[in-house]
């Protein structure tokens, strides 16, 4: 059975994206630009500008001279790529093999699919109608080869279906640019007077190769179907989802619990088969009145323990309002991570202990909130506030040692508190300081320990830290922000030592 390919060309992909975000742009002339060699070049133009003869590659200033009312926006390549990928994933409903053709095309391998829509014509019409309703200007063609579908979609009549084996006839009247060639080859072809592919196809292969190299021949043969061409199909992310339909609508908490248990069991079975664990999950109920109710949970470590996950969901079941009844339950693991079976090395304790601790933390986080659990690792910064970093997972181990070269206070105030000090000489520790209206005399002091700002991160005055002790034995961590140059620097209390 011959292969059939469908090519989708989004002529105005970038501008369509903007129009969808701001619909009032629809009939206005606007363009997208990007800087190149110190000037702004047009990258994409709206349909109206294109009709006026403005093409990508022109200078924005020239366009402004012609159309003073033109609106300009910066180009966003990443967003366009993402949009194209999303469109490709959407197209998976029509065929299992979809490949993106950057920057603005999609290739669909439709072999064996169109009959489900009643033939190629209705199939093509369905896709085009749906995409046009979605706000995309799209040109499309179906042919035996990727090359000919590409050529006909871009240079032929819109919605052409090239019959099987007839690609040569369809191609011969098109310009050489329809062969996906690079610019220098195209210019040479133009110079030699080749205006149509048919003219090239009749020349002996040997002469063509000598003059234009292999690329032209390969493209020509790929378009005609004598050379193979491979697609790199996109992979859709696997969906971890389980559904449970109910014959009678469920209205009671025990009923919901049974449904949840069943779904969890089958999902956890699948997760353990694939060596994965759930980090976040959503449990949705579709009510018969058309509303959807849902509860969600998160775990500290990827888990596939159905009993534990059930306990986390169980706390939130009262939030599900069944009203007249729920007819469909869906359990979805929205974030899934690998679970390392052989891992024994969380603080070299037994795995059982790790599981017990992470389940305890899940319980606490489930009731009080995910943001309450904190764990810290050392970070190689001297600035005290940046010397630790928070980590989300329990398995992460420190890459560097905790430093003990300089004393650090056991209590660090969340924000340094300003104090008034009496200092005998600059660079000396204070004699006494006043904090919250109380005067504290200093009998012993260590310091200064100067900590500079890290200039590659931020700039500002350095801090000079002093460790001081009052007559009762209370030990404080004070610092002076900045130096004694023109103005008096400010002093702060930053912590308490043991």
């Amino acid at each position: 059975m011959p292969k059939r390919y469908l090519y989708l060309w989004f002529r105005y992909l970038a501008t369509d994206r903007l129009t969808k975000i701001t619909p009032e742009l629809r009939d206005r002339p606007f363009l997208l630009y990007a800087p190149e060699h110190g000037r702004m070049l047009v990258r994409a133009t709206s349909p109206r500008l294109t009709h006026e003869g403005i093409w990508p590659g022109m200078v924005v200033a020239d366009v402004r001279a012609i159309f003073p009312e033109v609106e300009v926006f910066p180009e966003d390549v990443a967003a366009d790529e993402k949009l194209l990928k999303n469109l490709a994933e959407w197209c998976l409903r029509y065929t299992p093999v979809v490949a993106t053709d950057a920057p603005d095309g999609l290739i669909l391998d439709i072999s064996g699919c169109p009959h489900l829509w009643g033939g190629e014509r209705p199939y093509l019409e369905t896709i085009v109608t749906r995409l046009q309703k979605g706000g995309y200007d799209v040109r499309v063609a179906i042919a035996d080869t990727v090359g000919s579908a590409w050529a006909v979609a871009r240079y032929g009549k819109c919605k052409t279906i090239v019959e099987s084996g007839k690609q040569a006839e369809a191609l011969f009247s098109l310009p050489p640019a329809a062969l996906r060639l690079d610019n220098s080859t195209l210019q040479r072809l133009e110079k030699l007077g080749f205006r149509q592919i048919g003219q090239i196809a009749n020349i002996p292969r040997l002469n063509l190769r000598r003059r234009f190299g292999d690329a032209l021949l390969i493209r020509l043969e790929q378009a005609l179907g004598t050379a193979p061409e491979f697609l790199q199909a996109i992979q859709s992310a696997p969906v971890y989802e389980e559904r449970l339909r109910c014959v009678d609508p469920i209205r009671t908490a025990p009923g919901i619990e049974i449904a949840l248990k069943r779904l969890l069991e089958s999902l956890c079975e699948r997760l353990s088969y694939e060596g994965k664990g759930m980090r976040t999950g959503i449990f949705k109920g579709y009510r018969i009145d058309g509303e959807t109710v849902q509860i969600s949970i998160g775990t500290n470590r990827a888990s596939r323990n159905a009993a534990h996950l059930f306990k986390l969901f169980e706390l939130k079941i009262p939030e599900l309002e069944p009203a007249l009844g729920i007819e469909l339950f869906i359990l979805e693991a929205t974030l899934v991570e690998d679970v390392n079976e052989t891992q024994e090395a969380l603080w070299r304790t037994a795995t059982r202990n790790q599981t017990a601790i992470s389940e305890l933390l899940d319980n606490i986080a489930g009731k009080v909130g995910m943001q309450v659990v904190h764990r810290y690792l050392p970070q190689e910064h001297h600035w005290p506030e940046h010397s630790v970093k928070e980590v989300g997972s329990l398995d992460e181990q420190p890459e560097t040692e905790w430093l003990t070269s300089h004393p650090r206070p056991i209590h660090l105030l969340p924000k340094p508190e300003p104090i008034e000090v009496m200092v005998r000489l600059p660079d000396y520790p204070p004699v006494h300081f006043r904090y919250k209206g109380e005067i504290i005399h200093i009998v012993r002091a260590d310091g200064p320990e100067r900590i500079e700002q890290e200039w590659w991160l931020r700039t500002g005055p350095p801090r000079d830290y002093y460790r001081v002790e009052d007559p009762t034995g209370a030990r404080y961590w004070l610092f002076r922000l900045g130096l004694y140059d023109n103005r008096t620097p400010q002093w702060f209390l930053h912590g308490y030592f043991v």
Binding site: L361, I364, V388, R408, L412, R444, G473, V498
Partner: protein, 249 residues
Amino acid sequence: MSDLAARKEILRKLKEKILSLEGFSVGDDNLRHDFGLDALNDAFPGGTFPVGMMHEFVSPTEACAAAANGFLAGLVGTLMKNDGVCLWISTGRKIFPPALKFFGIEPHRIIFIDVKREKDVLWATEQALKCKALAAVIAELRDISFAESRRLQLAVEASKVTGFLHRQQPRLVNTLACVSRWKIRPLPSLTNGLPGVGFPGLEVELVKIRNGRPGVWQFGWKNGRFHIIPERSKRAERPSLSQKERHYA
């Protein structure tokens, strides 16, 4: 003579039985840890620091709280020696993790739970104390009722996890079901006559200990261990039996 020895033996066994009924685990060598607090051992029932119980620390001032947290860190460092994990539950946490390294704790093995309400501290502490996999649980809160502390004590008696309640500036120092009450105050540092701030000094006051003998000791923290300062430590007079405090301690 042998009659006397036999009687002593019976008494010793009876005492042990009473202690174990009260929740202490005497005679179990797994639960003996070397905290470096040898001078205190006489004060404890059974001659060893009671692990698997609730301990209460009261700190009236900010400086005392820092000292108490240092002392706690020293204790927890010993409890975590066998790669244990500790939970530190509080509402307004001030602990600076890198400083814990000075007390023999790997700071990344402490999990901090920072909740907003004291009620959640109590709930989380009770949940944590039921988890046998933890080495210790430290809860920082201000006020707690006797009934609430009883719940925590029951949880530790089942799980044998050591729990510490650190009460900072409590409105009322009420009676709790904890086995002990400690007050830690900072002392001028040990400088050996050298200039600058030396090794930290702590005054450890054991205000109450069930079945033990309260007292006041002075310790210094030096080279990763507690060191007693003998000339400044004293044992409280043995309270007479008429003092009710001892029974309800």
